[in-house]
């Protein structure tokens, strides 16, 4: 077929239907609509355009054309102010809306679709005519008008971030019922397997407008609960009344979970309803309400909580809540719970008395080291350690000699109490038949700095129990037992990767360069994590340039390997690693982001600041996040922070305040801001410090980060300012926004 033949065929068989009549009619209609003097019909010879623009002004003329020409110059609703008189603008909008509504009747589906689109584009200007069209005799036109009207109304409340996160949401909501609104809010708050929000970019203002209908659309109890969980995650203050309503629901699960949500969200509005729940018939509901009131700091509920110390089902929880509220005069009642309560009550009472710093509990805690319940035994050991119950050491040693059935916790308590006089006794248990004894003895000797026990610890590297082997490794590393290095190096060939990794860590701590050849062999280990560790250790010893290898590991598929690589690069102080670390700030794995941000701070790159602020603001907060906030001090006051890099020189003891003061003293930076703290924070400072790792050798900054609890620290040139965490976050945000880099951002 030639070109001519093809053209002839196309011409004869096919046609482009040109709507000639309609084109003419539209032009005629437009001419009728305009004043005769504006276009043509010039009686006095003046140029038509000049008269047209003189009458309305240039902007007015442009606006009129904009409305008339629809597709080409119709603007989305609200984009620009309209300079024409309002009445005329409205009349013209109505005409256009009517035209498009007429086209909803077309038999051509494409034309109907286009009319729909145009009416949607007109936005609120089309609403008056759409309201009339809803009553059209043609049910299809009426239905379309109804849907378009809903679409326009919905478009007015949906924000750009929401539409980006959920494309097509207008159409779906316009066609759906209230339940769909509910599901939308729930979907906006969805979290992934790691508990991170799928749409962290969505904020309160994006979802608030949807909440009213979402609440109406929550049909079943599980759906109401899901919605309330979404309200909490999204921080929707408007949703608080709905959340409070859960507390008086007939459904016990809703009351129970509602109280939990109120606790998590620290909802002060829920306090009256929570007080009512103290008399709930369900123990689980009472328990949640008690915890919530305690965490909310509602001291007015203290009398009610004291009564609940007689309620066997919740006595332990009530005791802990009272301790949290600092109700010291409840101590005698709580001590009674120790004697008569079940295991949960005994455990709660022990924790409460420990928190209240009640030394009278020490003799009972020694007895409870033999409790039938393992949690109670553990809490007893913790109580003795936190209360620094050195007066109990002799009694504990005596009981240890009695071949107690629960010796391991006695050993742990002796280690925590720094009872060096017990070292000979504890060494005996390195040869115990009980693996728990051997394990605790190894740990306790490490805590006591018993280097003389290294020869007894070394054989445990080949213990039949893997936990004992692991603890022995840690202990020898911690004790700097260099004599054990050859034995530890043997474990580099252990079939279990975990032991190879721990052995590497121990050898690094020992600085055992003589084992470099064994360590180097691990550079070809089958486990990527081990290869990375080996590279880092050799880098630490200056025997290998680990940077190229670590940079490659930053792109590894395993997030833990990426995290370790980031930590390794930061520890080595390689500034050339900064560009490679930056992409890790966007890593899907939060701990990898955290490691990258902290290491970038160490390397002096302020690009880490936004990532740290984001991590520290995330809900629910992770334990590590407040810790990472502290590292911003590295960017703001690097010299002062370096003083906190010194190692701790004494064993820390006493209250939180005493421990903080000791750290500050060793760093040479006095504590400030304590007098400005709230009553609750002051009360926390007076509580015994329950830090387990308090032995010398650790960097002061690391200890400070572990001991701050609800507080944070801003390091100044000549002092450490102690502030509540939320104030610290506000401070660092403001610092970042005012910094040069933040302003550029």
């Amino acid at each position: 077929m030639t070109s001519e033949e093809i053209e002839r065929l196309l011409k004869s068989e096919l046609d482009i239907p040109v709507p000639e009549d309609r084109l003419s009619e539209r032009l005629r209609a437009e001419l009728r609509r305009r004043p005769a003097a504006d276009l043509g019909g010039d009686a006095v010879g003046r140029p038509a355009q000049q008269r047209f623009f003189t009458r309305w002004g240039v902007v007015a003329a442009a606006s009129m054309l904009a409305v008339v020409f629809g597709l080409v110059v119709t603007r989305p609703h609200g984009e620009e102010p309209d300079a024409r008189p309002a009445a005329q603008a409205r009349a013209e909008s109505d005409v256009r809306a009517r035209e498009w509504i007429e086209r909803l009747r077309s038999e051509n589906g494409l034309e109907r679709d286009e009319a729909r689109r145009r009416l949607k584009e007109m936005g609120r200007a089309a609403l008056p005519e759409l309201a009339k069209a809803i009553h059209d005799r043609d049910p299809e036109v009426a239905g379309a008008a109804r849907e378009i009207r809903r679409f326009i109304e919905i478009s007015g409340i949906l924000t750009a971030p929401l539409l980006r996160a959920m494309p097509g949401l207008q159409e779906r909501l316009a066609a759906g019922d209230d339940r769909l609104w509910c599901r939308t809010v729930i979907a906006a708050a969805a979290v992934d397997a790691e508990g991170r929000r799928v749409h962290p970019e969505l904020r309160e203002e994006d979802l608030d407008p949807l909440l009213g209908r979402a609440v109406r659309g929550a049909q079943s109890p599980p759906e109401r609960l899901e919605l309330c969980q979404a309200i909490v995650r999204l921080g929707l203050r408007q949703g608080i009344p709905e959340l409070v309503k859960l507390l008086s629901d007939d459904d016990v699960v809703l009351r129970w979970k509602g109280a939990e949500l109120a606790r998590l969200k620290a909802l002060a509005e829920a306090i009256p309803a929570l007080r009512t729940l103290l008399a709930d018939k369900e123990p689980a509901v009472r328990g949640s309400a008690i915890r919530a009131l305690g965490e909310l700091g509602d001291r007015a509920s203290a009398p009610g909580l004291r009564r609940l110390l007689d309620d066997a089902a919740v006595a332990g929880i009530a005791a802990e809540a009272l301790a949290r509220l600092g109700v010291a005069d409840a101590v005698p009642q709580i001590v009674e719970v120790l004697d008569r309560g079940d295991a949960a009550a005994r455990s709660g009472a022990l924790r409460a008395l420990t928190r209240l710093g009640c030394r009278a509990v020490i003799p009972k805690a020694v007895v409870l080291l033999h409790d039938q319940d393992s949690t109670v035994r553990f809490d007893a050991a913790q109580a003795l350690s936190v209360l620094d119950a050195r007066e109990a050491v002799a009694e504990i040693i005596r009981r240890l000699r009695e071949e107690s059935p629960h010796r391991s916790l006695l050993i742990r308590a002796l280690g925590a109490l720094g009872a060096r006089e017990a070292i000979p006794e504890i060494r005996r248990f390195l040869r115990s038949k009980d693996a728990g004894d051997r394990m605790e003895a190894a740990s306790a000797l490490a805590r006591l700095g018993a280097l003389e026990a290294a020869s007894d610890l070394t054989p445990l590297l080949h213990d039949s129990d893997p936990l004992v082997r692991g603890n022995a490794l840690l202990a020898l590393g911690s004790l700097q037992a260099r004599s054990a290095a050859p034995e530890i190096a043997l474990l580099l060939r252990d079939p279990q990767p975990e032991f190879r990794r721990r052995s590497l860590e121990a050898l690094r701590k020992l600085g055992a360069r003589e084992t470099a050849s064994e360590v180097r062999a691990l550079l070809s280990d089958s486990d990527d994590g081990i290869r990375l560790e080996a590279l880092t250790v050799l880098g630490d010893w200056g025997l290998e340039n680990p940077t190229p290898g670590l940079l490659r590991f930053l792109k590894h598929g395993d997030p833990e390997v990426r995290r370790s690589a980031a930590s390794g690069l930061g520890r080595l102080g390689r500034r050339e690693a900064i560009p490679a670390l930056l992409p890790l700030l966007q890593d899907p794995y939060d701990l990898a982001r955290l490691a990258a941000a902290v290491e970038l701070c160490r390397l002096g790159s302020n690009k880490a600041a936004p990532a740290i602020l984001q991590l520290a603001s995330e809900e629910p907060p992770r334990t590590a996040y407040p810790w990472c906030l502290l590292h911003l001090n590295l960017l703001r006051q690097p010299e002062a922070w370096r003083k906190l890099g010194k190692p701790l020189t004494v064993e820390l003891q006493g209250s939180n305040l005493e421990v903080l003061s000791e750290i500050a003293k060793q760093a040479g930076l006095p504590l400030k801001g304590l007098e400005d703290l709230s009553r609750e924070d002051q009360a926390w400072l007076s509580l015994p410090c329950n830090l387990w790792s308090r032995h010398p050798g650790q960097p002061l900054g690391d200890v400070l980060a572990s001991v701050l609890g609800p507080l944070s620290a801003v390091v100044e040139r000549d002092r450490i300012r102690i502030v509540p965490r939320k104030d610290a976050l506000a401070f660092w945000r403001s610092w970042w926004e005012q910094s040069d880099a933040g302003r550029e951002k």
Binding site: L14, I16, E20, F52, L71, V72, E114
Partner: protein, 191 residues
């Protein structure tokens, strides 16, 4: 741009008529406007359709082109009325496409023409669809030339003048475009 003498003469005679009709309209003769509209609306519509890919948008573009022409200062009429109309359509369509990012695209470019008594049809509805699809797939510059030539009733010289591109370029765009459509046709019409 160089033109063949014939093309130039065609354009010139068309232009003389267009200017005459425009002047008559300026003096209040609405029929002159109707005539001016009739002269170009088909080609303009086909051109607008090839650019906008939407029948409704094409209508609007034609409407706008004429209104822009009429609003133009009578003391400063466009030198070439048809070129002016095509330029308005092209510019306005470009603005619109930029705004819409071609989110709405029509695949119904052509329809079966009306059956003529005694003349058997060679194309089926499926063939019409296939040609529509092939037209949609053509590069923009080939599609506009093919559509203007086949359905806009314009010669290649006129198209070159209107699009402001050399005649040879228009001819090659047409050849490539029409051959692609021919390939589709051959497949469709094979027994």
């Amino acid at each position: 741009m160089s033109q063949t003498p014939i093309a130039s003469a065609v354009m010139e005679s068309t232009e003389i008529d267009d200017q005459r009709l425009l002047r008559r309209f300026r003096r209040g003769d609405l029929e002159a406007l109707e005539a001016l509209h009739r002269r170009h609306r088909r080609a303009l519509y086909v051109f607008a359709l090839s650019l906008s890919r939407s029948p409704v948008a094409a209508e609007d573009l034609v409407q706008e082109a004429y209104l822009r022409l009429l609003e133009r200062d009578a003391s400063d009429p466009p030198r070439r009325v048809r070129s002016f109309l095509f330029t308005v359509v092209r510019n306005a369509a470009t603005d619109e496409l930029r705004r819409r990012r071609r989110s709405l695209e029509s695949h119904r470019w052509v329809a079966l023409s009306r059956a003529r008594p005694g003349v058997p049809r060679r194309f089926s509805e499926a063939t019409a669809q296939a040609i529509s699809g092939a037209l949609a797939d053509l590069p923009d510059e080939q599609r506009e030339v093919v559509m203007l030539k086949v359905y806009g009733d314009l010669g290649l010289a006129e198209i070159a003048e209107l699009l402001d591109v050399p005649m040879g370029t228009v001819a090659s765009r047409y050849r490539y475009g029409i051959e692609k459509l021919g390939g589709v046709l051959r497949k469709e019409l094979e027994p």
